[in-house]
């Protein structure tokens, strides 16, 4: 909700209004539902919270410093509900089928049945036997209106081809299935089809292209995850679950990145599963200097060093600095921490520290 709308709301309810981001635990401790929906209202001692967005462990709430009447609660809740969450009258057949499929995927994930196969009753099923590339797209744009299914489908058809499916999942989240023939289209006609080991690179370039297109030409900022080609009937639920987790991990550990790859977040997944207290103890033991990573130059240098597979020359080239400057920086780090990132064991420790530091810092 933008500033002017907040001011308008403030005038309407006659009380101060602000948008806050709270942890899920705070919502639950205040008596909120464990599975809340956008628009849910929570009455507190001196204020009312309206849920604007639930994003994993963080909730965006509109904090109104007044008690709302039941009618106000209902009206505001209704206004916040996503406009296109349900198919509108006049929705096309493909939209109805896609929404049905999306609901089924959500139900399977909620029930923990990620291995479920698309049941026979879905009319779409027959079209889900071919190899397809799954993209998960989460739109972040601070805009009140969610784009309509028909509009979006048209955009993706223009971008990918007619041979695609758009499946709405949660609010502002879509699964885009494009034919795996796209992989071959990345090469010029005279070139051979991509080798197996090139596939991931091609998928990444398709995902960045999709992100760029959506951001610039259509709906503003978004996050995209892409998976290896699948036969949708067999592994649709599993794929959505993995891609959603990939976006979550990518956003948590790699702030600033918008395109996320499941095969690039293995370590992050592992670290995410370690209890908070264990992580804190590790950081406490390892960080000789608590301000070690507060210098952006150190983080940039280490990020580039690890991205370049610990290759000094390539890292220096990527950072546009002299090789000796890089060596000086790495030596300085060694002096301060006793860890030499040019040795494998120390590199592993620093990489883990860096990932955990980013999560801690964000908190």
């Amino acid at each position: 909700m933008n500033k002017s709308k907040l001011q308008r709301l403030q005038q309407l309810v006659g009380a101060p209004v602000e948008v806050r981001v709270i942890p899920r635990t705070e919502w639950e401790q205040a008596g909120g539902s464990k599975h809340p929906e956008t628009g849910d209202c929570l009455e507190r001692a001196d204020s009312s919270w309206l849920l604007a967005k639930a994003d994993g462990s963080e909730f965006k709430v509109i904090d109104i410093r007044a008690k709302l009447t039941p009618l106000e609660r209902e009206l505001l809740g209704w206004a916040l509900k996503p406009v296109n969450a349900k198919p509108q009258a006049g929705a096309s057949d493909s939209e109805r089928q896609a929404r049905k499929l999306g609901d089924w995927i959500e139900q399977c994930i909620a029930a923990g049945d990620v291995r479920a196969e698309v049941p026979n009753q879905f009319e779409l099923r027959n079209r889900l036997f071919d190899g397809m590339i799954p993209f998960l797209l989460q739109n972040e744009q601070a805009d009140d209106r969610e784009p309509s299914y028909a509009e979006l489908e048209k955009v993706f058809r223009s971008f990918i081809s007619d041979d695609m499916f758009l499946v709405p999942l949660r609010e502002r989240e879509w699964l885009v299935l494009g034919s795996d023939r796209l992989l071959a289209e990345v090469d010029s006609p005279e070139e051979d089809a991509p080798e197996q080991d090139e596939t991931k690179e091609v998928l990444y370039s398709l995902a960045t292209g999709l992100h760029q297109m959506f951001t610039e030409e259509w709906g503003g900022e978004c996050h995209v995850a892409v998976g290896m080609p699948i036969i949708p009937t067999e592994s649709l639920v599993q794929t959505v679950s993995t891609l959603r987790e990939t976006v979550y991990l990518g956003r948590r550990f790699h702030i600033g990145m918008q395109v996320h790859l499941p095969w690039m977040v293995h370590l992050e997944r592992l670290l995410s599963g370690i209890p908070e207290s264990t992580r804190a103890r590790f950081m406490e033991e390892m960080m000789g200097r608590p301000d070690l990573f507060t210098e952006p130059e150190t983080i940039t240098t280490l990020d580039a060093f690890f991205a370049m597979d610990c290759n000094v020359s390539e890292t220096a080239k990527k950072l546009f600095i002299h090789r000796n400057t890089l060596l000086y920086r790495l030596d300085k780090l060694k002096q301060e921490t006793g860890l030499d990132v040019r040795s494998f064991n120390d590199a592993v420790l620093v990489r883990i520290m860096l990932l955990l530091y980013k999560v801690t810092k964000r908190k």
């Binding site: 806050r20 990345v186 370039s205 760029q212 709906g219």
Partner: protein
């Protein structure tokens, strides 16, 4: 074409106490090439993203032309963006890449064709129109990304570090290409970079930012010759301006600046200002550009009251010029840029004269340029 105006714009992220951009006021003229520059985290990209509509404006108003666009979606702002990660659409050829945005906006086929071919001609990529991005070099891809923006014929171009993925040689080349292109297109352009050389060479006007605040907005010449504070003085110029901390004292009717190894007379014009502002007897920082330290005998002879002696710690000869890293002038090392044929070497002692007419004097507490404020 249109100008862009930001009025008291703030960006504050939820959960953060500090604003990422604070009270940003700027009037960007129609057809102006404006560069936002500053160190990482200074808020320059956030400002650009707010103009693009990719970040919500927490407070303040943004105008494109006469229209307030705070609540207008990015696609409806009539802007074109070129970012650092200029991802092309890998499954489309160059022509399709450039045409896609227009196709989405339902332009007529012949109009799309005209615009794509015209942009391709401007960018000299006509021969690449059938190629897929994979078959292009870094520089060619960058030009296609620019082409994709140009065909839109937007009111404003927004560019966020578009050259940072290119190697040094290509960057220099593309820098000139973009400048030429923008002059030819006569469109407003807002360009973000952390590279002050890019800023100085490309911008009609430069906005230097730090910690979310505008430090100074001025032409490149103005910024270089009249920096408003210590930060701008140190940020603009390579090698950076030298800073020497010392005291201003009145001696025999003239003002002298004294620091370790330095005792030089301040020209009367500057001395008058310093006297009137009560700086005599106080500690100040003087700023000297590396090129304002001279070793030529003629200059030294003509400047007997600004001579200093130093030892050369390191010398870097670039051929046409030489950088001397000097010890003995103030607490920190001082850099002098001199003629490459001077023959001076490491370990030597050298006599230099400071061009005192070009020095800057900064307040040690406020860090403001005393002579400019």
């Amino acid at each position: 074409m249109a100008g862009v105006r930001l009025e008291h714009v703030y960006k504050k992220y939820p959960g953060s106490d500090k604003a990422s951009v604070t009270d940003f006021n700027l009037d960007i003229q129609d057809k102006e090439f404006l560069v936002l520059v500053g160190p990482s985290g200074c808020g320059k990209s956030t400002t650009l993203r707010m103009i693009a509509g990719l970040e919500e404006i927490s407070e303040g108003k943004l105008y494109i032309g006469d229209r307030v666009v705070n609540d207008v979606a990015p696609k409806d702002r009539d802007i074109a963006m070129v970012f650092q990660s200029y991802a092309l659409y890998p499954h489309m050829n160059v022509y399709q890449n450039m045409a896609f945005g227009l196709k989405l906006r339902k332009f007529r086929k012949d109009e799309i064709d005209r615009r794509v071919r015209e942009a391709a001609r401007t960018l000299e990529i006509e021969h690449l129109l059938d190629r897929k991005p994979k078959a292009l070099s870094g520089g060619q891809r960058q030009r296609v990304a620019l082409g994709r923006a140009i065909v839109r014929e937007p009111q404003v171009f927004l560019m966020d570090e578009p050259l940072s993925n290119l190697d040094a040689k290509l960057r220099t080349q593309m820098r000139a290409n973009i400048s030429k292109l923008m002059k030819r297109l006569e469109t407003t352009c807002i360009y973000v970079t952390h590279d002050q050389i890019e800023a100085m060479t490309m911008g009609d006007r430069i906005v230097v930012m730090k910690d979310g605040f505008i430090q100074q907005a001025a032409t490149p010449e103005e910024l270089y010759n009249h920096p408003i504070n210590l930060f701008v003085a140190g940020f603009i110029g390579a090698p950076a301006m030298n800073f020497i901390t010392g005291q201003l004292v009145e001696e025999g009717g003239s003002v002298h600046f004294k620091a370790t190894g330095v005792n030089v007379e301040v020209p009367e014009g500057k001395a008058k200002v310093l006297r009137s502002k009560g700086y005599i007897g106080r500690e100040v920082i003087i700023g000297v550009r590396p090129e304002d330290l001279h070793e030529e005998p003629v200059f030294i002879e003509a400047s007997p009251k600004s001579i200093v002696n130093a030892s050369i710690e390191v010398s870097e000869n670039l051929g046409h010029e030489m950088y001397l890293y000097l010890n003995g002038l103030g607490k920190d090392s001082v850099i002098a840029r001199i003629d490459g044929r001077s023959g001076l070497q490491e370990g030597q002692n050298v006599k230099l004269a400071i061009d005192m007419n070009k020095i800057h004097v900064f307040d040690t507490e406020s860090e403001l340029n005393i002579l400019e404020n």
